[in-house]
């Protein structure tokens, strides 16, 4: 029985009942309490809405929305569901124009979601048409509040969500602006369907413990050993995190080697190391930064490979991971080639990310029949604060703290 009431085991945030991944009731509640609640959801890059009239179809949780740059230059959004019969107003990936018409019966909306036209509203030759008291202004689409931070577009349905910059907090904001330091441009998209609940992927992103144990390509080339200088920053709420490291600071470490990792394979060398040759374009030596914003946004810098990852729930057992690869407007051909080559590290076929697709499936299958069993998250203690080691699971505990607050669990 997957829909038994969730009873959260003690102590603190170091236990997670597996039912939270498996319950259809929980999945539905997450839509209302988290995604449509007082959070900021990542929608797209600002450079994807560069011109007045640009609009894009995207998602808040699994709810389809339209985000648009209106003719006056302001950004806004609304639910992508026609007021009439519920069809997608924008079934395409996006477009440009002053208005969007539903293809079904031609109900037409402006870029703020106001219903501006209903075909045959007055009928034909005095017959048919909408009732006299039909008022188009009553059928404005539910609006999204949209804000931009450093070229990243976020939206919320909640009137009581704090301003975006407040929501992010200073530490997260600083690590976002570190990457988003000049005008971005998209250099590719990928989509990956993960056979697991969205929280399994998010918790994987927030888990620095697994990085050098599961992803052996990286470890072998010493891009991300836990012994490299780095740390974990968690914001004041617990919901957002940054994990970063500096590859150049890595050195031999007895604790690490004693763990007898499969990763330690001194004989492994690349035939063509040009793929991992990069430039310290940020000037601070950080070669890897994974940043998450509650609930579903990830900003990734791995050397010169820059991505946003939007995590879209597709039912309780499926998740779509939308990868947007970007560079900067002033990249030259050599820099673009670095980014294209290093993109081999990530995405659906990435040397250091393909395992994330595999483990989600292993966990989903592993927790079948788990009853009242639970996860144990005690690496690095039982609290959820920042730590100067990556041998910790504190970002997961922070996630579950905020998750439980939103879900009243």
């Amino acid at each position: 029985m997957d829909d038994r009431p969730i009873v959260w085991p003690e102590p603190g945030f170091s236990r997670v009942p597996y039912d939270v991944y498996k319950s259809a009731e929980i999945y539905d509640a997450e839509r209302q309490r988290i995604f449509m609640g007082a959070v900021w959801n990542y929608l797209c890059l600002e450079c994807e809405l560069a011109t007045p009239g640009d609009y894009r179809a995207t998602f808040v949780g699994d709810v389809p929305v339209v985000v648009a740059r209106d003719l006056d230059g302001s950004l806004g959004g609304f639910e992508n569901r026609c007021a009439h019969r519920g069809a997608l107003i924008c079934p395409k990936e996006g477009g440009n124009g002053a208005r969007i018409s539903c293809v079904y019966h031609g109900w037409t909306y402006d870029l703020k979601g106001n219903l501006t036209a209903v075909p045959f509203q007055r009928g034909i030759a005095g017959k048919g048409g909408m009732p006299e008291d039909f008022r188009r202004e009553q059928w404005k689409r539910r609006p999204l509040r949209v804000e931009v931070f450093a070229g990243l577009v976020f939206g919320t349905f909640a009137a009581d969500a704090p301003p975006l910059a407040t929501y992010l907090g200073p530490a997260i904001a600083q690590h976002i602006t570190r990457v988003m330091r000049k005008p971005a441009k998209v250099i590719g998209y990928n989509s990956q369907i993960l056979p697991n609940n969205w929280k399994m992927y998010i918790c994987n992103v927030r888990d620095p413990y697994h990085a050098s144990l599961l992803h052996l390509f990286f470890t072998t080339f010493r891009l991300n050993r836990l012994s490299a200088e780095g740390g974990i920053l968690i914001d004041e709420s617990g919901g957002h995190h940054v994990s970063y490291s500096k590859a150049a600071t890595d050195r031999q470490n007895a604790d690490y080697d004693a763990a007898d990792l499969r990763a330690k394979n001194e004989g492994f060398r690349l035939a063509d190391p040009s793929m991992i040759e990069g430039i310290d374009e940020f000037g601070d030596g950080i070669t890897l930064q994974i940043l998450s914003v509650f609930p579903c946004f990830v900003l990734q810098q791995i050397q010169n490979c820059l991505c946003t990852r939007q995590v879209v729930p597709r039912g309780k057992d499926e998740t779509e991971l939308l990868w947007t690869y970007f560079g900067f407007e002033d990249d030259d051909a050599a820099m673009t080639l670095h980014r294209v080559k290093q993109a081999n590290l990530v995405g659906p076929g990435g040397y250091v990310s393909m395992e994330d697709g595999a483990v989600g499936s292993f966990v989903r299958r592993g927790i079948t029949g788990s009853g009242e069993d639970r996860e144990v998250l005690e690496m690095g203690g039982r609290d959820w604060r920042s730590q100067d080691t990556r041998a910790t699971e504190s970002p997961l505990r922070g996630f579950w703290k905020v998750y439980r607050e939103h879900m009243s669990l």
């Binding site: 492994f268 690349l270 035939a271 040009s274 081999n344 395992e355």
Partner: protein, 157 residues
């Protein structure tokens, strides 16, 4: 080389290429390419938008060798095999020492536990050098019809 001989040589290369992958002889896979080859798996969406990033990119045979070595020694994924179904090859251009050709492909993926799926369909856009002992790919663009990848893409297409 007559047109018929050329058609045969090119189709034989495609067939041997697919058989090496499907038979799990991945170490043979880079040998179908020139030293300075270009190989990319990319979605049709990115290709048509002229976005340079795909799913995998190599501009040397060494990068293909590294892919295989990583799959064998570093990467962790559920055991799986491909079955390629190739269309007849259409030679689209012939010049001295090289041809351009396109071939449709379907790949069915079967995982260890037995789940089968139509994993990828699309087109190979190839530039093939001829004149050596065997024709070789100087360029192979794997253009995937779908923008989505199920779970992960480990083995080359």
């Amino acid at each position: 080389m007559t047109d018929a001989e050329l058609q045969f040589a090119v189709e034989r290369l495609e067939a041997r290429y697919a058989a090496a992958i499907d038979d799990d002889r991945l170490e043979d896979w880079p040998l179908f390419f020139t030293e300075t080859c270009r190989y990319q798996i990319i979605t049709r969406e990115n290709y048509e938008k002229k976005l340079p990033v795909g799913i995998f990119f190599a501009n040397s045979r060494g990068m293909l060798i590294d892919r295989v070595r990583s799959l064998r020694e570093a990467n962790i994924y559920e055991a799986q095999r491909y079955r390629h179904i190739l269309s007849p090859t259409l030679v689209t251009r012939r010049e001295a020492g090289a041809v351009e050709a396109q071939t449709n492909y379907q790949v069915i993926r079967t995982t260890q536990e037995g789940a089968m799926m139509l994993f990828s369909t699309g087109r190979y856009l190839d530039r093939i050098v001829i004149g050596g002992p065997e024709p070789l790919f100087a360029e192979k663009l794997v253009l995937c019809d779908s923008r989505r990848v199920d779970t992960l893409l480990a083995i080359p297409l």
